[in-house]
Amino acid sequence: MSTTNVSVEERYSVFPFYICLDISASMAGSPIDAVNHQLPILRSKLGEDPAVAEVIRLGIVTFSDVAVTVLPLCDLSLVEALPEVSAQGRTSYAAAFDHLRQTIEDDYARSRARGDRWYRPAVIFISDGRPTDDTDRWKAALERLHDPAWKRRPNVLAFGFGDADPAVLATVTASKPQRAFIATEGAEPSRIIPELISGLIQSIVSSSASVYSGSAELVPPELPNMTAISVDHLD
C-alpha cells in the first residue's frame, strides 16, 4: 500500500453553510430587528470557537425582489463584521434559488482553486411568507437548485413563521423528512428568531463536530416552538 503524505498544509474538508434569509417588507420591524440582534451572536458563537471555525464556512444571502450575497462564504473567525439587514420589497423565491445555485457554483470553484475540499453544502432557508413570484417560475428555479445532475446541489433546511406555508417549505427542502420546520401558530417572530438562531448555532456546532469524525452530518436543530413538517414517503 502506498504511503500517504501529511503536511502542515493538510486541512480538514470544510462544511459550507448558506443562510438564505427572507428580508421582504413583511419582515420589517421586530423580526428584522431580531435578526440584526442575533447575527452578531451567531458570528461570536461560531467564529470565536477555533475548532468550529476551522471546518465551517458560512455565507449569508438575503432575498426580497432580488437576492444579494451580503456575506460571502467565509471562515467566521476571519470576518470583519456581519452585515446588518433591513426589510423591503416582495418575496421572490426564484431570485433566492437562482442566486444560491450561482453562488455555490462560484464559491466551489474558488475554494477548489485554493485546495479546499467540500462536504455537500447546506442551505438554511428562512422565510416569513409565501413566494410572491409566479409559481412556475420559483418551482423551476428550485428544480435547478435540487437538480440531481448538479454535483454541488445542497441539502436544504427550511424554517417558516408568520405567513409561511408548510407545504411550500416542504417543497423547498425537496420533501425530505426532518428538513422543514414551521413555527407554532401565533408564536411571535421576535421570540421565534432568537430561538431559531440559537438552534442553528447548536446545529452547526454539532455538524462541525461530525466533520472531525470523518463523516460529516447535517444535524437538524432542536427548536422548542417549531415542529418538523411531516413529509410523505414516495411510492
Binding site: S2, V6, E48, T69, L78, V79, Q88
Partner: protein, 481 residues
C-alpha cells in the same frame, strides 16, 4: 474552609452545597459553579455513579502516588476531590477542581474563552488576525514546554500503582497557559481508568469511556474503550500538532490501513540540531507513539519527558523546563529506558525546512450596492449596513454583490432622499478610509497598507484639485478675470 476541603476526599451531601449557575452540559451530565467554593465545580451525572468506582478514583492520587507526582497531578489535572451524595445516599456527582483563570484567553472582543488545544494547532498568524492573540511561533520553546508539562503529568499517571489512563486527551480536555511559564490543566479526569501492570482495566468492563473524534486513538475500534496505550498515542499526536502548529489529520487514514508519512516543518536553526534534525531520536519516539501496527511498542510518557528535557537543553531553553518544575513541583524524573522497536513503524516523521504559510485573509461583508437602480427604486433593494464591532472601521469601498433579478421594479420614488443618503454614504466611506489609513500608519502589520495609503492620497489630491478649481471659478469674477 469548605466542606470538601475539610473532609479531604470524604463524600459531601448535595444539600450541604450551594449550587450556582450552569457552566457546561454534556451527554453524561451537567457542570455547575459553586459560589462558596470558587476553586471547585459540581459535576452532576444523569445516572448515579458506582460508589466503589468513585471511591477508587477520588483516593487514587493519595494511595497510588509519591509526594512529588501527587503535586504534579494536583497542579496539572482536575482530579475529582469528592463524591456528592444525594438525599438517597447515591453518588449524584463529583466535586472537581475548576481550571484556574490563567487557563483562558481574552479575544479581541473582550470575552475570555477556555484555552483549548485548538488555538495552537494552526498557524499563529491566523489566530492573531482572527482573535488578536499573540501565540508562540511554530516549534517555539514554549510549545515544547507545553508538551513537556503534559508528558510529566502523564508520567505521573503511568507511575502510579495502579496506573491510570485518561483516555480522552482532546482539544477541550487539555487546557494550557503560558502566563507563569508553560502549564497544562487536564480536565474530565473522571473519564480515567485504572490499569494493572499488564494493561488490563481494573474498573467495570461495562462502563463506556469517552474519546473525542480527531483526538482519538485509531487503534481502538469504535465502541470500545481507550486502552492504557491510548494516552501514549495522544501524547505523540499532541506533540506533532502543538509544536508543529498544524492539524496533521491522520486518524481516518490510519484506520484505513495506510502508512503515514508526516512532513514536520522546522526553522533551519533547529533542523541542524542533532536532537531535532533528520534521524534524531525524538522522531523515532513520535513515530512509535503514533504507530497503529504495534500499539504495545508506544513509548511511555517518561521517554518523552527525558527526550524533551534534552531538546529544551539543546535549544537553550532550560529555563522553560525549570518554569514547568516550579509550576508542577519536583525536578527531573529518572531517565527512561527506550526499548528498541521490534518492527518498522507504519508512521514516518520527516523534519523539513519550514516555509512561509499563506497569510490569512479577512472577509468583509458586502455593503449596499450603490447604483442608479438602488437610488431610484429603494423598494427593490435591501439596504445593508455594517454592524458595529468586528475588526474596526468598515470597508470604505462598496463591493458589488452578485445579484439575481426577481420581479419587475415598481415605479420610481422621489430622488432627493436617495441623493442625501448617497452623500452620507460617500462621507462615511471617506471617513472610514482615513481611519484605515491612520491605522495603517500606526500599525506596520496592517493589511494592504500601501494600497490604502495610496488610495487615500489619490482621493485627497483629487479633492484638493477639485476644491481649488471650484474656488478659482467662484472668486475669478470678483478679482477681474
Amino acid at each position: 474552609m469548605t466542606a470538601a476541603r475539610r473532609l479531604q476526599g470524604a463524600p459531601v451531601r448535595l444539600e450541604d452545597l450551594r449550587v450556582g449557575g450552569l457552566l457546561a452540559e454534556g451527554g453524561e451530565g451537567k457542570v455547575y459553579q459553586l459560589p462558596l467554593q470558587p476553586h471547585l465545580v459540581y459535576k452532576s451525572y444523569r445516572r448515579p455513579l458506582d460508589p466503589a468506582i468513585v471511591e477508587e478514583l477520588v483516593s487514587w492520587p493519595r494511595r497510588a502516588l509519591d509526594t512529588q507526582r501527587r503535586a504534579t497531578v494536583a497542579a496539572a489535572a482536575a482530579w475529582p476531590e469528592s463524591a456528592v451524595l444525594n438525599t438517597e445516599g447515591l453518588v449524584a456527582g463529583l466535586l472537581v477542581p475548576r481550571a484556574p483563570k490563567r487557563y483562558a484567553l481574552r479575544h479581541r472582543d473582550g470575552a475570555t474563552r477556555l484555552a483549548t488545544l485548538s488555538y495552537l494547532t494552526t498557524d499563529p498568524a491566523h489566530r492573531a488576525v482572527a482573535y488578536g492573540l499573540q501565540l508562540p511561533s511554530p516549534a517555539g520553546p514554549e510549545r515544547f514546554g507545553l508538551v513537556y508539562a503534559l508528558a510529566r503529568l502523564l508520567e505521573a499517571f503511568d507511575a502510579g500503582d495502579p496506573r491510570v489512563g485518561h483516555g480522552d486527551l482532546s482539544t477541550k480536555n487539555v487546557l494550557w497557559s503560558l502566563q507563569r511559564g508553560p502549564e497544562v490543566f487536564v480536565i474530565d479526569c473522571d473519564n480515567a481508568e485504572r490499569f494493572d501492570r499488564s494493561g488490563r482495566p481494573l474498573g467495570d468492563p461495562g462502563r463506556r469511556r469517552a474519546m473525542t473524534p480527531n483526538w482519538d486513538d485509531p487503534a481502538v475500534t469504535r465502541g470500545s474503550n481507550p486502552t492504557v496505550e491510548s494516552d501514549r498515542y495522544s501524547l505523540a499526536l499532541i506533540f506533532l500538532r502543538v509544536v508543529g502548529a498544524a492539524n496533521f489529520p491522520m486518524q481516518a487514514r490510519q484506520r484505513s490501513g495506510e502508512p503515514i508519512s508526516v512532513d514536520f516543518p522546522l526553522p533551519p536553526e533547529l533542523l541542524s540540531d542533532a536532537l531535532l534534525g533528520p534521524g534524531a531520536p525524538l522522531w523515532a519516539l513520535c513515530e512509535r507513539g503514533l504507530s497503529l501496527s504495534a500499539p504495545g511498542e508506544r513509548p511511555p510518557a517518561s521517554a518523552w519527558v527525558a527526550a524533551l528535557e534534552a531538546v529544551l537543553d539543546a535549544i537553550g531553553s532550560a529555563q522553560v523546563m525549570r518554569n514547568v518544575w516550579a509550576a508542577q513541583g519536583g525536578g527531573r524524573p529518572s531517565p527512561a529506558v527506550i526499548r528498541p522497536l521490534s518492527e518498522e513503524s507504519d508512521v514516518a516523521i520527516r523534519p523539513v525546512p519550514a516555509e512561509a504559510r499563506p497569510q490569512p485573509k479577512v472577509t468583509r461583508p458586502v455593503t449596499a450596492p450603490f447604483r442608479a437602480r438602488a437610488l431610484l427604486n429603494p423598494q427593490t433593494m435591501a439596504t445593508v449596513r455594517l454592524a458595529s464591532g468586528g475588526f474596526g472601521p468598515p470597508a470604505p469601498a462598496p463591493a458589488w454583490g452578485v445579484q439575481t433579478g426577481g420581479a419587475p421594479a415598481p415605479p420610481a420614488a422621489p430622488l432627493m432622499p436617495e441623493v442625501r443618503a448617497a452623500a452620507r454614504r460617500t462621507a462615511r466611506a471617506w471617513l472610514g478610509l482615513h481611519r484605515r489609513a491612520l491605522r495603517a500608519l500606526l500599525f506596520a502589520q496592517s493589511q494592504s497598507r500601501g494600497r490604502t495609503l495610496a488610495l487615500c492620497a489619490a482621493i485627497d489630491v483629487s479633492l484638493a484639485i477639485a476644491t481649488m478649481f471650484m474656488l478659482a471659478m467662484l472668486t475669478s469674477p470678483f478679482i477681474g478675470y
